[in-house]
Symmetry: C2
Subunit: 138 residues, 2 copies
DNA sequence: ATAAGAATAATACACATTATCATTCATTAA
DNA sequence: TTAATGAATGATAATGTGTATTATTCTTAT
């Protein structure tokens, strides 16, 4: 028996999922495309977009709408938070305990039906900070 | 005496700032353009984009990179949080006390130089919820 | 094997944002 | 006051991310 939201695991979808699960970098759709193309050279970019969107709708992966101009994807679906480097755009996980109770607080103080939340920190990553220090001493 | 980051308050910039301060709706650049055009019909869309970006860089306003395809702007620069309706895209403030101490926690658990954070809740706004209830009873 | 439906790949399209550049405006120094 | 300089603007072109379209290919059920 299959629930209505189960999707067929086509070869394309399988590879997209596997490649996404391999990395911790929160790649963009284009980056996933590049990763997947090494295994499926004939896959279309539209297929990658379409299926990332579909899997996100099904809760199989996370679509991160963080700062910057591109959406990013995450195979880890547990509630967790992110930090984005304002220099290079890199996104990393932040090992902070999740605070699901925030949703209730938000519901209490608004007339929205609250569905969830996300915390995005911003900062300078180690690499960019080091690069800056280096060029300052030149 | 002017600090280096002070910018000249051209008529265009003044009107953009005033119109943005008038609303609580977190308008997109295009929406700001429409508001401003009523007072300055000859202003260019590029000028609006350029100056919203500039003012955000100077800390005079906030650029909200929330979910959805367009960036939004906010004349209120105090640390506060937002909720976005996943149906209609509307963005409202959430009256939750700010938690600046989160930045320190994030700094402790990462090698980033943490600059700040933002919390974005998602949910269904009153209007969209009512519309849904209405069409369900048809 | 055949038919029906789902998914794919190629391509065209939409649209938000940025870049370019000639013109206009503001500021400064003769 | 005027001339020179640099900054800002407005018009327009260009870029890039993401979506829509559609003919073809693949699955599944009969
Ligand atoms: Mn993550
Ligand atoms: Mn706000
Ligand atoms: Zn970085
Ligand atoms: Zn709504």
């Amino acid at each position: 028996m299959q629930s209505q939201s189960d999707i067929r695991l086509t070869p394309q979808r399988q590879v997209i999922l596997e490649e996404l699960a391999k990395v911790k970098t929160h790649p963009t759709a284009n980056e996933v495309y590049d990763m997947v193309r090494k295994r499926l050279p004939r896959i279309g970019l539209g297929t990658v977009y379409r299926n990332l969107e579909l899997m996100a709708d099904n809760g199989m992966i996370l679509k991160l709408e963080v700062g910057g101009s591109q959406k990013r994807f995450d195979a880890t679906t547990d509630l967790h938070y992110h930090i984005r480097c304002t220099r290079c755009g890199k996104v990393d996980d932040i090992e902070l305990g999740a605070m699901p109770q925030l949703d209730q607080l938000a519901a209490d103080t608004s007339d929205y039906q609250v569905l969830g939340h996300h915390i995005e920190f911003s900062g300078i990553c180690k690499t960019c900070a080091d690069n800056q220090a280096e060029s300052a001493t030149n």
